[in-house]
């Protein structure tokens, strides 16, 4: 179509950018609306070349008025040369992510999959393989699709998650976390061994200390504070920044007892922390822990006359004893000094 090129250039000169995007899309869609339009890739497989203009318009970039050539730079109306510089869809996606970087540089560069792609690892997704291309949604809209997207590669984890208390409710409940609520994907990914586990009190605590959210399910919001008050919480706090391995054991975080992708309600027989399973769970770290060992953990209860009265009684004793003892001794020191001052 050699005639339309000067027309397009003329449009470029006179239209404001937004109108240009729409007009340009219209021009591109003259060909690309064709649902049968495909390209046979050299490396096998077909690449659909169809773009649904309606879907794109509703996508986050369509709403922003981005033009086709913003992401497909250098495409002219006569680009249908019959050849592509890539052999597979993945190669195409990787090439496209360089385009994504022109706006989303840090998200790409610090993305969890970026380094393995750089190392040439196979099967690691580039931007559009998770986010899509012409149908990119806002993060909030994308949320419920995340387990499925991640699950297309992380099959085992997704299957386990789908059966968990969180995963089984993901379609109907906005409160449950999806993959990316716990795993940081685009920035500060917890890659060193144990880093994610050490951060679980913070990660899980984001929802589990939110009283508004937890009230709906009758779950205590003291789960983090009671964890921190215990031995594991103390050690894991002081272990921040420590890596697991080389004889370094990390203190148990939330997921070490409750499970990771398989977290169940605490009264579910499958739960790792239900009384019947707790001894086995403790034994993961405490080899040979006897039957009475799990009672050493107060199950997130704060000591009270009803729960753990022995611990409560010891605490009350010292709450009285320490001020009484120290106050008494200070009083006597005061009297001593008074006596000395009086005699002088």
């Amino acid at each position: 179509m050699p005639r339309s090129l000067p027309l397009l250039l003329a449009l470029l000169a006179v239209s404001p950018l937004r109108a240009l995007g729409a007009d340009e899309a219209e021009a591109c869609l003259e060909c690309h609306a064709d649902a049968s339009m495909t390209f046979d890739l050299e490396g096998g497989g077909t690449l659909p070349l169809t773009v649904d203009g309606g879907v794109f318009k509703k996508s986050v970039h369509g709403e922003q008025g981005l033009a086709c050539t913003d992401c497909h730079p250098g495409m002219t109306p006569d680009h249908a040369t019959g050849s592509l510089p890539v052999k597979t869809r993945h190669e195409l996606a990787r090439k496209a992510s360089e385009v994504c970087r022109t706006c989303h540089d840090t998200q790409v560069a610090e993305g969890i999959h970026h380094a393995p792609i750089g190392r040439g690892e196979q099967g690691v997704p580039a931007c559009s393989e998770c986010h899509g291309a012409h149908d990119i949604l806002r993060p909030k809209e994308f949320r419920t699709h995340i387990p499925e997207r991640c699950g297309s590669c992380h099959v085992q984890e997704a299957a386990t998650y789908a059966k968990s208390v969180h995963g089984s409710a993901v379609d109907t409940n906005d409160d449950v976390p999806v993959c990316t609520d716990c795993h940081r994907v685009h920035k500060d990914a917890d890659l060193s061994p144990g880093a994610l586990s050490l951060r679980t009190p913070i990660i899980c605590g984001r929802c589990h200390t939110d009283s508004k959210r937890m009230r709906k399910y009758g779950i205590s919001t003291a789960v983090v504070s009671t964890y921190l008050a215990d031995f594991h919480g103390m050690v894991s706090t002081l272990q921040r920044g420590t890596e697991r391995g080389n004889g370094v054991k990390l203190a148990a975080g939330c997921t070490d007892c409750h499970g990771v992708h398989d977290i169940q309600k605490t009264d579910d027989p499958r739960s790792r922390v239900i009384a019947a399973n707790l001894q086995t769970t403790c034994q993961k770290c405490h080899e040979g822990a006897p039957a009475m060992f799990p009672q050493a953990w107060l199950s997130h209860w704060q000591p009270s006359p009803k729960k753990a009265p022995a611990v409560w009684a010891v605490r009350q004793f010292y709450r009285l004893m320490i001020p009484f003892m120290v106050g008494g001794l200070i009083l006597q020191i005061g009297m001593h000094l008074f006596g000395v001052a009086r005699k002088r």
Binding site: Q239, P290, Q295, A296, V314, I322, M325, V326, L329, V340
Partner: protein, 248 residues
């Protein structure tokens, strides 16, 4: 009379000086490695833990110091008990009725309602209180510390809830011991106006006869084979300042 010329009396034997020195060093070490674990959310605790090589090292040092202090305590009890039972050693730390009378006499004297000052034997009620406080505190720390070191073995025959109870007791007893030592012990031995700023007696083992006469007249009389000074006569006072008045 200058200090150089003053007649010195050995108050603490070599064995007692070594015992005090080891307990002191271990106590400092246990505090340095214990309190960052109790107050772990504070910045200083984090800094201290990292300076000591991380929480694993802090715990190793704490455990080793704890075992050593337990051993010192056992040796102290063992030799003390053997000495007392074989009548080789007087049970001079035994609290007596006189100690309770001394408390009230001493406080009346401080407040000015009685001019008399108690006449002390080898150990004053303050020293006995501190000794028994330390010894009993040590027993609590050793027992709870052992439970915390061996939770698996402990729960083979004890209910599991004893472990958090032991932790609660260990942590609070440790804090109380620290407060009693830093406030009461340091005041009584170093900061009180008679000794200020520092009393080296527990390190050198010796104090002047003059001071002995004022602080432990009953023991001195017994050491020198004299009859004890009667409690009804006017007190020689407590420490060098009061002693000066007496000489005048």
């Amino acid at each position: 009379m200058s200090v150089e010329q003053a007649e010195q009396i050995v108050r603490f034997s070599r064995k007692r000086r070594i015992e005090h020195l080891s307990v002191m060093a271990l106590f400092v070490l246990l505090c340095l490695t214990g309190f960052p674990q109790k107050f772990y959310t504070h910045r200083w605790a984090d800094v201290l833990v990292h300076a000591l090589g991380g929480i694993d090292w802090v715990r190793r040092i704490h455990h080793l110091a704890g075992y050593t202090l337990a051993a010192v305590t056992v040796v102290h009890f063992g030799t003390g008990l053997a000495g007392i039972l074989s009548r080789q050693m007087p049970f001079s730390m035994m609290p007596t009725r006189q100690d309770f009378e001394d408390v009230f006499q001493q406080l009346r004297n401080y407040l000015g309602t009685s001019p008399r000052h108690p006449l002390y034997d080898r150990y004053t009620y303050k020293e006995k209180f501190e000794y028994w406080g330390l010894v009993m505190g040590n027993v609590i720390m050793v027992v709870t510390g052992t439970i915390l070191c061996f939770p698996i073995e402990a729960t083979k025959f004890l209910p599991g809830v004893l472990i958090p109870a032991a932790k609660m007791a260990h942590s609070n007893e440790g804090l109380m011991a620290f407060l009693v030592i830093t406030i009461w012990h340091i005041f009584n031995v170093h900061l009180n106006p008679d000794a200020f700023p520092f009393d080296p007696a527990i390190f050198t083992g010796r104090i002047t006869r003059e001071r002995y006469e004022h602080e432990h007249p009953l023991e001195l009389a017994r050491l020198e084979g004299r009859p004890p000074p009667t409690r009804t006569e006017a007190s020689p006072g407590h420490g060098p300042a009061a002693g000066g008045e007496e000489r005048a």
